[in-house]
Symmetry: C2
C-alpha cells in the first residue's frame, strides 16, 4: 500500500525524503507555520536517541537541569556576536493575556514591560544562572545538560531537518582554564556525539573544526560531526563549542582562583544535538521501500508475523509467537503483530516501510517443523532470508541484529568513502560537490569561502581533526596550505 | 551549616517550604518573572517521577508524541469554556524578529499575521491533529501522551507549586463511546496517578470527582487525586478529564462508525501531572532538618560516608566503601561521598538536608569489625541507627529501604487521617478547614460553594469515589444529601 506512494531517490530525492517521513508515519504537518507534529513512530526513535545520549552525557559526569523557556530581550544583547546571530530569527512574547475583540475573536492584551524571547538556545539564560552558581574554583567544573525545546523562526522548513521549533539537548559547562574547556569540548565530540552516531545510529561521521565563518555565534571554536546523506550532501549532526571567555565576560561568570587573591573569568562550553538526527537517520540508511532502522536504535527490532488461514492455525501460530517472544526475553525488542483485520502481506509491507530490522514469519509448516523464517530489512528478498529453529532463535536473533548493525554502518561508510574526492583545483572542486564531499588543501580567507559558497553553493563543512600532515597547495588560491578541509553542499 | 538556615514548620510553614527548596538545592530563582530554574538535585527527582509515570503510561497502552509549543489564537476560541478558562493567563507571541532600536537595545520586529499562544495545555493543538488522525472506528482508541513544558501567566508564584512555566505530561485520548472515555479517565486516575503517587512517592491520596465549579475548563467531568500537606492544606496532585464530545465538536474529531452510514463525534479525555508533584513531595514528608525522600523515588538511596583521620584509615575505609558498593550492585542506588575537603559531619548534614534515605558510615573500627552503621533519614538520632555486618548489608539495605518506604507512607497516612474531620454543621466545617480536611454531606449549589470559598477560603477538593452510601444532611443547607465531599484550603 505505502510502497507505491514513495517516490524513488533517483527521481526526486527531496520528495523521497518527505514520502518516507509520511509513509513511515514519523511526523505530520501542523497548523503552526514551520512547526511539525512528531508522531508516535517518530517520537519513539527520538526517545531511543535521548536514552543513548543521556546515558553518555551522564557517564561523562554531567547532570541534567532545566532553565526557563523565556529570555529577557536585554539578556540577548549581552554577547555581541550571539545577538547578531540569533536576533533575526527569534519568536518574541510581548503580551500575557488574550481579550475579546468584541467580534468573537481574541486579541493580545496586558503588554509585558520587557518583551521575552522564546529561547533559540540557552547560553544567555544559563549564563545568568552560572554567574550565581560559580563563585570559587571549588565550584568548577560545572557540568550541566538540559533537554528542551527551542525555537528559531525559519522561513524554509522541512520535517526534522529544519523546523521552527525543535527538540534537543544543550550542554553548558564552566571550567577554570582554557585547556579544561577545550578538553570538555572534544570529549563531547568524541565520547558522546560521534560514539553515539557511529555506534548506535550506524552513521559514519567526520569530526572536525568549523571555520570562523561557520562557527557558532559567540564561540571561540566550534567542533562538529558531519555526516554524508545519500544525495552526497552534508548534514551537521552535532556541534560542540568552546566559548572561551566570551559568555563568561558577557554574563559575569567569575570565580576566586586557588590563589585566593585573583578573581578570574570562567571558560565555558556548550554543545547540542537535536531532532535533526532523526532526519540524518532517515537519509543515511533508508531506501526506496521505506525507512531502514539500525537495530541498536530501533524501538522494535523484530516483528513476529503469524501466518494462518484456519482458526486452528491461528491458535498454533500465535501460541508459537508468544512462546518465542518469551524465549527471546530481553535479548531483543520483539513485537507480535496479531492483528486479525489485515493480511500478512499488508503487515510485511507496513513493517518494511517502517524499517523494522528483522521480520519473523511463522506459518503452520513452521510450527510443524519448529522453525521460523527470518527476513532482513536491509536485504529484501531471498538473499536476506533464512530458516532458524525455535531452539536457536534466542541466540541467532541478537547475532543477526548485530550483523545488520555492522552491515548498515559498512554500507553507509562505503557509500561515503566512495563519494569523497580529493580535489586539486577549482574545476575538480566544483565537480566533486555535485555528488559528494571534496577534500582539499586550503589556505583561503573568509572572503574566499564566501565566494565558493556563492558560486558552488558549497561550504567548508569542517577542518577534519584527522589530517595527513605536511603541506599542500590551496585548491583556490594556489598558496601553500598546511591543512585539508572538506567542502560540501549541506542541509 | 544548612540546618540552621531552615525555618521551622511551626514558626512559618511557607518560609520552611522555601528554605527546604533552597537548602536542598532543588531550584533557583530566575530573572524571568514567575519562572524557576530546576537545579540538578531537583531535576533528578523530576526524572524519577518521569520514569515511573512514563512506564505506567506505556504499560496502559499509550504512546508518546510531540505537538507544537505554539497554538494559533483562533484555535483557542473554538471551545467556549476552554478559552474563558485560559485566555486570561496565556503568553502571546506577536513577532518573529528582534531589531536594533538604534540605542544599543533591541525591539520586536516582523509582526506575525496571527499571534500565537504559548500552550497553557494542548487540547486545542492536539484536537486539530486528532481531527486528521481519526477517520474510522478502526483508528480508535487513540492513546497519546506528551512530555512538555507549558506556560500559564501566574501573578503569585512559588517554586514547583505554581510557576509560570512548568513541566508536565499531558495525555490525550479519543474513543468511540462515552463509556470507553470514562473508563480511560478512571484507569489513569487509578493505575497511573494514584498508583504512582501512593506507591512510589509514599503520599496517600483521596481519589474523587471535581464539582462543576472546580472542573477543567471544557470538561464533562474532572477526576483528581488530592493529597494533604503537613499544614493540613490540600494539593491537587493530578487530574484526569472526561472531555465528553466538547473538544471533538470544537475540533471536528469525527469517525465513521462500525455501522458504515454514521459519522459520529469521538469522545476524548485529557490528563496531566506536573513538576508540582515535586512540591507535593517536599511538603508531604520533609521535616525541620530538610528534605525527606521516599526510597523508591530517591535518585540516590544511600550514601556511604567513610570516616578516617590517617592516610591508612582513608585507604581502608574507602576500599571498604567500594567493596560494599560493588556487593550491593543494583540492589540499591548507592553513592560514595569520597570528598576530602569537608568533614564527615558536614557530609552527614548535607545528605540529611538533601533527604537521602539511608546513611552508611564506615570508620576504622567498622573496618576492623567488618560492620557498618546505618542511619535512617526518617528517624534521626539513635533510634534509627543500627549496626550491620558487611556480609548482611546487600540484603539488609534493600529491606531497610522498603521499611522506610512503608514507614513514610504510614506516617503521612496517619497524619492525614487524623486531620480529616467529619463535620455536621457550618461551625464544625469552619473549624476543620483551619487545620485539615472536612468531610461533609453536601447538597449545595455552585453559589453555595462560592459562598464557602469566600467565607472560609476553602473549596470542595473532591467528591470521593469512596462513598459511605445512604443519605445525610447537607452541612450548609440542611437538605437531604446523597454524597459526601471533602472541603479544604488548597495550594
Amino acid at each position: 500500500m505505502a510502497k507505491q506512494a514513495i517516490t524513488t531517490r533517483e527521481k526526486d530525492y527531496s520528495q523521497w525524503y518527505l514520502d518516507i517521513v509520511k509513509e513511515a508515519d514519523l511526523s505530520d504537518y501542523s497548523p503552526v507555520r514551520g512547526c511539525m507534529v512528531i508522531k508516535p513512530t517518530g517520537y519513539a526513535i527520538w526517545e531511543m536517541i535521548q536514552q543513548g545520549l543521556d546515558k553518555r552525557i551522564k557517564d561523562t559526569g554531567h547532570v541534567n537541569a532545566y532553565f526557563p523557556l523565556f529570555i529577557p530581550v536585554s539578556f540577548m544583547t549581552k554577547e555581541a556576536q550571539h545577538v547578531e546571530g540569533f536576533a533575526p530569527e527569534v519568536a518574541v512574547v510581548t503580551h500575557h493575556r488574550l481579550e475579546s475583540d468584541g467580534k468573537g475573536g481574541l486579541v493580545p492584551a496586558a503588554p509585558l514591560e520587557e518583551p521575552l524571547v522564546v529561547r533559540p538556545t540557552s547560553e544567555a539564560i544559563i549564563g545568568d544562572s552560572f554567574s550565581r552558581w560559580v563563585q570559587s574554583w571549588r565550584d568548577l567544573p560545572l557540568l550541566i545538560n538540559q533537554w528542551a525545546n527551542v525555537v528559531r523562526w525559519e522561513l524554509r522548513t522541512r520535517p526534522f531537518l529544519r523546523t521552527a521549533e525543535f527538540l534537543w539537548q544543550e550542554g553548558h559547562t564552566a571550567h577554570a582554564t582554557h585547556d579544561e574547556a577545550e578538553e570538555e569540548t572534544l570529549k563531547i565530540l568524541h565520547e558522546v556525539y560521534s560514539d553515539f552516531v557511529e555506534n548506535v545510529m550506524a552513521i559514519p561521521v567526520f569530526k572536525g573544526l568549523k571555520t570562523d565563518k561557520e562557527k557558532f555565534a559567540g564561540a571561540l571554536r566550534t567542533y562538529a560531526i558531519e555526516a554524508m546523506m545519500q544525495d552526497g550532501k552534508a548534514l551537521q549532526a552535532g556541534t560542540s563549542h568552546n566559548l572561551g571567555q566570551n559568555f563568561a565576560k558577557a554574563f559575569e561568570i567569575k570565580f576566586q582562583g586557588q590563589n585566593q587573591n585573583e578573581i578570574e573569568y570562567a571558560w565555558t562550553t556548550s554543545w547540542g544535538v537535536s531532532t535533526r538526527l532523526v532526519g540524518a537517520l532517515i537519509m543515511a540508511h533508508s531506501d526506496d521501500d521505506g525507512l531502514v532502522l539500525p537495530p541498536r536504535l530501533a524501538p522494535t527490532q523484530a516483528v513476529i508475523v503469524p501466518i494462518y488461514k484456519t482458526d486452528d492455525e491461528k491458535a498454533a501460530t500465535l501460541a508459537a509467537a508468544e512462546q518465542l517472544k518469551a524465549a527471546i526475553g530481553d535479548k531483543a525488542r520483539v513485537k507480535i503483530d496479531a492483528r486479525d483485520n489485515v493480511t500478512p502481506g499488508f503487515k510485511f509491507n507496513e513493517w518494511e516501510v517502517k524499517g523494522i530490522p528483522v521480520r519473523i514469519e511463522i506459518g503452520p509448516r513452521d510450527v510443524a517443523n519448529q522453525t521460523v523464517v527470518l527476513g532482513r530489512r536491509d536485504r529484501p528478498g531471498k538473499e536476506g532470508k533464512r530458516f532458524v529453529s525455535w531452539a536457536e532463535l534466542p541466540e541467532t536473533l541478537p547475532q543477526l541484529l548485530e550483523e545488520i548493525q555492522a552491515a548498515l554502518y559498512e554500507r553507509a561508510k562505503a557509500f561515503r568513502d566512495s563519494h569523497v574526492v580529493d580535489v586539486a583545483n577549482y574545476t575538480e572542486l566544483a565537480a566533486a560537490v555535485e555528488t559528494g564531499f571534496a577534500r582539499a588543501w586550503w589556505a583561503g580567507s573568509r572572503e574566499d569561502e564566501d565566494k565558493i559558497q556563492t558560486e558552488l553553493k558549497a561550504t567548508i563543512r569542517c577542518i577534519p581533526l584527522d589530517q595527513p600532515g605536511g603541506e599542500g597547495v590551496c585548491v583556490l588560491t594556489g598558496q601553500p596550505a598546511t591543512q585539508q578541509v572538506l567542502f560540501a553542499r549541506s542541509y
